[in-house]
């Protein structure tokens, strides 16, 4: 009897709406792709030779660094895409149609889940595109079928958590500018983690932060799966723990913010 019965169909309707928006406004998606691709090329071609020698020892060089940095760039892609979520949620909240949704007997949360699901689709498109560029410049993942499936699962979990967080950021933002700035730190977290250099090379206090912040386990899991060398259990546990915590926090904050007006 309640409108919650409609949570699923309403969410699908809202997802459709988001996908249409994405198709009609592809420049946002392209913009989100620019940064990770630029960083990929910069780090491989400019810093790659030197950094590769530092990481891989004698057998290092550019291609060793490409292997090392690709997972970090993929996580950076996710971070960049969820920044887009925050922007599009904030833009959507200024649209009159949101008030129309509020006066309709629909599952209210579907306005938000539509954004979350839409962003997840966008994230998969973006990560696939960036992976394609990495492969084009010589990256060769060693993942088996099971690894790929696990990677898709891991990305879905990470994307789900981070989009709820940035949906909350987008709703809370007073302006579209704020909405694009608030999630900015996410894009830099791979740097203060194991994305570009091993955390052991950092000073002690920073290493402590780097080892436990969400992006390091995310990157380590991705790296393990893509290289086919397996993943550490502690990284899997941290990935789940962080994702669940972030998703719960984001979901709760988003709902509270959306219902208050």
């Amino acid at each position: 009897m309640t409108t919650m019965t409609y949570a699923l169909p309403d969410s699908m309707t809202m997802l459709r709406r988001q996908l249409k928006h994405m198709l009609r406004y592809p420049s946002l998606t392209l913009q989100l792709l620019m940064m990770p691709i630029l960083f990929l090329l910069l780090f491989v071609y400019v810093f790659g030779g030197t950094l590769g020698d530092g990481i891989g020892g004698p057998s290092g060089g550019r291609s060793a660094y490409l292997d090392y940095v690709a997972p970090g760039i993929l996580l950076m892609t996710i971070a960049s895409a969820v920044m887009g979520t925050s922007i599009s949620v904030a833009m959507d909240m200024t649209e009159g149609i949101i008030d129309r949704f509020r006066t309709m007997a629909i599952a209210r949360v579907s306005v938000l889940t539509g954004h979350v699901l839409g962003s997840m689709v966008q994230i998969f498109i973006c990560t696939a595109a960036v992976l394609g560029v990495a492969i084009a410049v010589g990256y060769r993942p060693q993942a088996g079928v099971a690894d790929w499936l696990a990677l898709i699962g891991a990305f879905a979990l990470i994307a789900f958590a981070l989009t709820w967080l940035t949906v909350a950021a987008g709703i809370s933002a007073k302006s579209v500018e704020t909405a694009s700035n608030t999630p900015m730190p996410l894009v830099f977290l791979p740097f203060i983690g194991s994305g570009f250099v091993p955390t052991e090379s950092m000073p002690g206090w920073m290493q402590w932060f780097a080892d436990y912040q969400p992006f390091t386990p995310y990157i380590e899991v991705t790296r393990g799966l893509l290289s086919g060398t397996g993943v550490e259990q502690s990284d899997v546990v941290l990935t789940f723990a962080w994702s669940i915590a972030i998703a719960l926090f984001g979901y709760t904050a988003a709902r509270i913010k959306f219902n208050r007006r």
Partner: protein, 335 residues
Amino acid sequence: MFDLGLLLTLYPPAKRGTMNTEPLAIEARNLRKSYGDDTVLDGIDIAVPRGGIYALLGPNGAGKTTTVNILSTLIDADGGEARIGGRDVSAEADRVREQIGVTGQFAAIDDLLTGTENLRLMGRLHHLDRSESRSRAERLLEEFDLVDAAARRPSTYSGGMRRRLDLAMSLMGDPRVIFLDEPTTGLDPRSRRTMWTIIRELAAEGVTIFLTTQYLEEADELADRIAVLDGGRIVAEGTADELKRLIPGGHLSLRLNRDDQIEAAAELLGATATDPEQLTVQVPGDGSVDSLRSLIERLDRASIEVDELTVHTPDLDDVFLALTERPENRKESVR
């Protein structure tokens, strides 16, 4: 015939539901809303029977949108209660939402979707089946003269077209009560008339309509009952005619030829104001042909020469000047 008074004593209002008496379509009692120190609604009552057209008339900032927002479950009132079709707007918000369609003051449409897609989105959210949704959308596009624009995005529409699409979207769910917040503000006279026709047709189908407007003329054209909102209170309520009788705003303005006749004319006609510089004399009157004829005859007999005669019918200015000048309606607090 039965005695309504007796009936009401036997079945007090609270029990009337069991008697098959329809609840009012819209009913609000003592609604209050403040933003900080700013009291926007200071206890207003509204009653609209099923199928009625009710107009809330008021100037900028009177609280019209606030009232619509409360009645349409968008915001909560601070006090009082409101029911739509007998359902409480805050306790049974979803039951209320099932009955209503809302066309807010500012277009509530998705600019990235086409006209058709906007309507189909509504169809999906009302959980209509595909064919029903499609045929309803087609019918509305046709009725609202949007067929040619259906495949375009609303950002390419004119103001009137956007308004019509907005209203069409509110109708996809076949609502029993419709809220229209300033449906014709910014429309040209032709579009305004089109909108009026649409509204009248909806009412004829038995839909209850609650509209807000800044134009007395619009309320006069459409509404069965008009309420004038000012300073957070309803300062007058009634049919258009009842309301006009309250408003002593109608007057005639005469511009004379000679300034030495102003006093004579003022005395003869019982003028309410004179302006010797402009040579004008203001006389109360409604501008009916009979009153004009007798006025001119009297002026002729007194040999008073008139250059120009203008009839002022009461407009919103007159309504507000008249209704808010009375001290009992003046706001106590001065911000």
